[in-house]
């Protein structure tokens, strides 16, 4: 794009009072760029001024030196133009009030040794804004060559059927794959369901049958039973999926990445890319590479993973006191459900009517009030339901529930209350000590109950509340033909659920276009699973529509930019493929990355990772930030006897940048020697920016971004973590240049840390002051 630049300086909101605007205007003028000032730039007159320049003079690249880009976003937006929002208000004048950073008096101005830190800062920011404008262009969306709006649903239980029905009702074709011979999943094995609306005193028939009928009657839904996913290749909007029978060996079964130890030869030397590919092919013998598309494969736009759960096993020493294995009449809740489904409840050992049943909610040893593994509130509710079976089957039936915590959250409390009214259902908190055979039946002993210190109950049957293990605990299920591997990464931190770490965005996974729903994500009741499925169907639809429009999905929803690679200079180091938090890249046998733009979330981690600096976005690239860094004026002893420090701050735009704005709003001040550049994510920080800063004499660099680790708050999952690894490595490089490692640091800043951020910045500046100026200054 041919650019016609203009700088617009707003003098409102205290900018004009605080800064020497005439001097500020000299900055663009020196570069031959026109500059205009306005006392109220965001007013309609101010905007008209800009619009007139667009119309009359063809201005299309504007540096708006005014307030933060977080405000007046809609006002300073001009079709076909590139805009930089130079933040003079929140981060210059508000965060550096003249009461603390006095302007130079006329007298002081006469001595050239004096300088005005705040004015210097504003001038730098205008230089930086202008420099950035030269390096950015309006984005053009990525267009898929082929595109489909069909949704693949993995799992034919209530969740999968719910997702399929909901997507179909919105007009999207769906295929359900179910590994069993029929639809229905576990819900089809149930006798009854818990009531979810008034009245709460009776169980309701399962909804699963009517769902199966609805699915079968829906011409927009294709059902494939006894089918599993061999692999999903490609990218959202254009996935190529190979389906197969369970257990079948298929040439398009998904290949697995090479284990770390196989990447080295017998002497411990790392194999090169082509050698590794050869070993990888041997390791995955009989399976096509991830980049080979199945010519027979079916096309899908996005995926709902509704693979469900299996019952947790209750076995091992921890549970011997519960009698499981000793007596066939000690069963799990799933086994009990199967018995109940068959008819009246009878003992497995002898078929005798089970009129007295004890339900055990928690293992109950050593004063531990934990439930069995993988229990949610579902097991409490399922137990209430199963207690009701005993009562429904036998007028004189008795159900005993021994719990640590009765977990019937929300409106489910109504069902609990209703069951409490039943004179044949006895419930108590208690620790189960022992289940043993006694006479013809069983005896359950418990301590610390509400009915007394020690109780003993005679029972025909004992039911243990086993939890629900997500299918993803046993295998990846989705079988993505991705270089990073077939499953979700880091599922260990989620106890193997296909879960997200985000409270705000529950359907996000680390794989774009795959949305988990139902009990594969957390233990849920039937009703909650069906509800969960609706949301996953929406996300699947949204992903398809976003891919079709060539824009990013959450969190950079609507972003039209995507990473562009300059392949001629690629050295096949594979770092981009390995570091992408979303597995968006697959490299070929030589190690050259193949981008899959619709898998990409536009965080820029690949750009930060690339040592050759060949990856960039239209409006955010190595040069757009690099040129900002280079345009910062670094005063040296040639300029002043005691030149001020210059410190670069690369700041995550999601949380740390708003925190800085809020510090400004509260007039919380921090060092005026710091120059702030927002970045999409710390993961996008390329070390070249820091090297450039230090080699031009800047004294230090600080990265401010989100928390990492198991409880990461990084919106791009791994960005801040990867940045911290890179910063450790840069430390080594610095020491080889005889620069102290302490000159580069990364600090965690959450959005509500605005009261702490000045202290974080200032203490870093003090550390740099203690180290003294950068010895390269002035060279």
């Amino acid at each position: 794009m041919d650019k016609k630049y203009c700088v617009y300086i707003c003098t409102g909101c205290g900018i004009g009072e605080s800064l020497d605007v005439d001097a500020l205007c000299e900055v663009p003028k020196e570069e031959g760029v026109s500059v205009k000032t306005h006392p109220f730039l965001c007013s309609s007159e101010g905007i008209d001024l800009i619009k007139k320049d667009i119309a009359d003079d063809g201005v299309n690249a504007m540096c708006i030196a005014a307030c933060s880009r977080r405000v007046n976003f809609d006002v300073f937006s001009f079709e076909g133009c590139v805009v930089d929002r130079t933040n003079l208000r929140e981060q210059v004048v508000w965060a550096h009030p003249r009461s603390e950073f006095p302007a130079l008096t006329e007298e002081e101005k006469e001595d050239e040794e004096n300088f005005d830190r705040v004015q210097m800062m504003a001038e730098d920011y205008i230089r930086m804004g202008m420099a950035r404008l030269e390096q950015i262009n309006p984005p053009e969306p990525y267009e898929l060559e082929t595109f489909t709006n069909k949704i693949l649903v993995i799992g034919g239980g209530v969740t999968g059927m719910g997702a399929a029905l909901d997507a179909s009702k919105a007009g999207y074709p769906v295929t359900i794959v179910e590994k069993e011979g029929a639809l229905g999943g576990f819900a089809a094995k149930m006798r009854s369901q818990m009531p979810v609306t008034e009245p709460y005193d009776n169980l309701i028939p399962p909804v699963v049958d009517s769902m199966i009928q609805a699915v079968e009657a829906d011409s927009n839904i294709t059902v494939k039973t006894e089918t599993v996913v061999a692999r999903i290749a490609g990218q959202p909007g254009d996935f190529t999926v190979t389906l197969k029978n369970p257990g079948e060996k298929h040439s398009f079964d998904v290949p697995y990445p090479l284990p770390e130890e196989m990447k080295f030869d017998e002497n411990g030397k790392e194999l090169n890319a082509e050698q590794q590919f050869e070993v990888y092919q041997q390791y995955n013998e009989g399976r096509e590479d991830v980049l080979t598309l199945d010519p027979e494969g079916e096309k899908f736009g996005s995926v709902v993973l509704a693979a469900g759960w299996r019952p947790a096993k209750i076995e091992g020493e921890e549970y011997t006191h519960l009698g499981i294995g000793d007596s066939p009449d000690v069963v799990t809740n799933t086994q009990f459900e199967e018995i109940a489904k068959k008819g009246r409840i009878v003992r497995p050992s002898d078929g005798k009517e089970a009129k007295s049943v004890v339900f055990i909610q928690s293992p109950g040893k050593d004063e531990d009030d934990r439930d069995f593994q993988y229990c949610g509130a579902v097991t409490s509710m399922a137990t209430l339901k199963q207690a009701k079976y005993v009562r429904d089957d036998y007028n004189d039936g008795k159900a005993y529930i021994i719990y640590q915590h009765m977990r019937t959250p929300g409106l489910a409390e109504n069902f609990y209350k209703s069951m409490q009214q039943d004179p044949g259902i006895f419930m108590t908190k208690g620790e189960v000590i022992k289940v043993s055979k006694e006479g013809n039946g069983l005896a359950v002993e418990a301590d610390n109950t509400l009915l007394g210190e020690q109780i003993k109950i005679k029972a025909d049957m004992v039911v243990l509340s086993a939890g629900m293990v997500p299918e993803t605990a046993d295998n990846p299920v989705i079988n993505l033909a991705y270089r990073q591997g077939p499953g979700f990464r880091d599922n260990d931190i989620f106890d193997w659920y296909a879960d997200s770490n985000f409270i705000c965005f529950p359907y996000e996974t680390q794989r774009t276009g795959v949305y988990a729903a139902g009990t594969v994500r957390r233990s849920l009741t039937i009703e909650d699973s069906i509800e969960d499925a609706t949301g996953a169907a929406l996300k699947a639809i949204q992903c398809i529509e976003s891919a079709n429009r060539g824009v990013s999905v959450h969190p950079r929803s609507g972003d039209m930019t995507f990473p562009d690679f300059f392949f001629q200079r690629c050295t096949q180091c594979k770092r981009c493929t390995e570091e992408c938090p979303f597995g968006a890249l697959d490299d070929d046998e030589k190690g050259t990355p193949k981008p899959n733009p619709t898998r990409c979330r536009r965080c820029g981690t690949c750009m930060g990772a690339c040592p050759e600096r060949i990856i960039g976005f239209a409006d955010y690239n190595i040069n757009s930030v690099g040129s900002m860094v280079k345009s910062i004026v670094v005063p040296s002893e040639d300029d002043y006897d005691e030149p001020p420090l210059r410190i670069l701050a690369l700041v995550c735009e999601n949380d740390a940048y708003p925190a800085l704005d809020m510090a400004g709003m509260n007039r919380l001040s921090f060092s005026a020697d710091v120059r702030i550049i927002p970045v999409r994510c710390l993961g996008s920080v390329n070390v070249i920016w820091i090297k450039d800063a230090l080699s031009q004499g800047m004294d230090g660099a600080i990265l401010l971004g989100c928390k990492h680790g198991d409880d990461y708050q990084c919106h791009f999952v791994k960005g801040s973590e990867l940045a911290s690894i890179r910063m450790q490595k840069i430390g080594d490089a610095l020491s080889s240049l005889a620069l102290e490692e302490e000159r580069v640091a990364q600090k965690e800043v959450a959005i509500d840390d605005y009261d702490k951020i000045p202290e974080i910045i200032n203490s870093f500046v003090e550390e740099i002051e203690a180290l003294g100026p950068n010895p390269f200054k002035g060279f």
Binding site: T408, F494, N654, D711
Partner: protein, 423 residues
């Protein structure tokens, strides 16, 4: 003006309520490509979530999620937001509703740059409802640094109007219009999602728990504000009567919930909230002792269970199964909590510096009649009828939920709303 942006009636969705559920439904639908009108009665979006200090179990700031949602909103021209807006009337049927919306005056126009000059000259104090009246702000105010839209508002209940007019003089941008009048707009939409949320149950209605009578009895939502860096105590938790740092704090679970005289249901979030509050206190005051009185600890699921296990290990947190019978004033400004241990039967009295009532959530619709043909259950939650379609409830308007489940539910309701448009 308002209808300029509307497309054909069959293509638009209205979301009533701009809290986390409403924001989610609006954004999720708009990002599929539909036009959305987001209606919020308060001057700012964010609802209850904007008042929280941290989310459980991650202990991360809710403003982080709000920031990203606001950014999505800014970037999406398909959403038209109305604050200070009330739905007055809904006419028509699924697929074609005409909704009358009253737009109440903000008294501040779009010229506002949020510079804050007006606040410095405003002579009128008002009880700050955002902080549950624990401090005062001015008649011209914004709720917080995160307020969206980022523009001031004037509270007409306390503003002296043109007879004062100091703010008008102080404003350099002609942003203040003290004679601004309410307006009415009619919007045509195909479906409506009610995300009207919840209100903290009025603790004063629970006679035996001392709220409003004892000096240092606060509610769980008040504690959120006390812990927030932008709250009345700038994040220091101090007891209200004398600003003392509390050394002992009791939490009364099910304050009004699971109680036939108040809210018969379980409010879903209070157990996790109190455990989270224990972390707020323990982080600030390493010697503080925390007593939590509960009926059952409802911390289901692996994430919540892990959170609970971690807090259980803290020797200064005492978890007592027993319902609190009474909270009464003790000597000094202390309070005494009386409870019966459910397991041992022992009657216990504990005198503490401060007591926190874990009050439950009551749906907004329980106290405010919504102007639409909605089926409510007896507690005021809106019952969804997906067969009928057209109107839906999302989040806590539908049932008591935590934030993560509200978001889940609200995402799904975006699809239900879209389905109505496709019929």
């Amino acid at each position: 003006m308002a209808t300029d942006n509307s497309t054909s009636a069959s293509g638009s969705i209205m979301v009533v309520g701009g809290g986390i559920s409403g924001l989610t439904t609006a954004l999720e639908a708009a990002e599929v490509g539909y036009e959305v009108f987001l209606i919020e009665k308060a001057p700012y979006l964010g609802g209850r979530v904007a008042q929280l200090n941290q989310y459980f179990p991650k202990l991360c700031p809710p403003t982080c999620g709000l920031e990203i949602n606001y950014r999505r909103l800014k970037d999406n021209r398909k959403i038209k937001t109305y604050t200070l807006a009330n739905v007055e009337k809904v006419a028509g049927e699924a697929g074609n509703y005409t909704v009358t919306v009253q737009l109440n005056p903000r008294f501040i126009n779009q010229n506002c740059t949020a510079c804050g000059e007006c606040v410095d000259v405003c002579p009128v104090d008002r009880s700050n409802d955002f902080n549950f009246g624990m401090d005062k702000n001015k008649a011209v105010y914004k709720s917080s640094e995160m307020a969206f839209p980022m523009r001031y508002t004037i509270d007409p209940a306390v503003c002296k109007g043109t007879e004062c007019g100091k703010c008008v003089e102080a404003c350099n941008y002609n942003a203040i219009e003290l004679d601004m009048k309410p307006k009415t707009v009619e919007l045509n939409v195909g479906s409506i999602v009610w995300a009207t949320g919840w209100e903290p149950y009025d603790a004063a209605k629970i006679d035996n728990l001392g709220y409003g009578v004892c000096k240092n009895v606060v509610t769980n939502m008040m504690l959120e504000r006390l812990a927030s860096p932008n709250g009345p105590t700038r994040g220091k938790i101090l007891r209200p009567s004398d600003e003392k740092e509390p050394e002992t704090v009791a939490f009364v679970q099910c304050a009004g919930s699971r109680d036939e005289n108040h809210l018969p249901y379980c409010s879903y979030i209070c157990c996790m909230a109190s455990l989270k509050h224990a972390t707020y206190l323990r982080e600030r005051y390493p010697e503080a002792k925390i007593y939590i009185y509960y009926i059952d600890l409802r911390t289901p699921g692996y994430k919540y269970e892990k959170f609970y296990s971690k807090i259980k290990e803290d020797e200064n947190v005492f978890l007592i199964k027993g319902k609190v019978a009474e909270v009464r004033q003790a000597s000094g400004d202390n309070v005494t909590v009386v409870a019966e241990n459910a397991v041992t039967g022992e009657k216990m009295e504990q005198t503490v510096d401060m007591a926190v009532l874990a009050t439950g959530m009551q749906p907004t619709a329980a106290n405010t009649k919504l102007p639409a043909d909605l089926k409510l259950n007896e507690d005021g939650f809106i019952v969804n009828d997906f067969e009928k379609g057209g109107v839906f409830a999302a989040g806590c308007a539908n049932k008591p939920l935590d934030v993560v489940t509200s978001n889940q539910n609200a995402t799904g309701m975006a699809l239900k709303a879209i389905q109505t448009l496709k019929r």
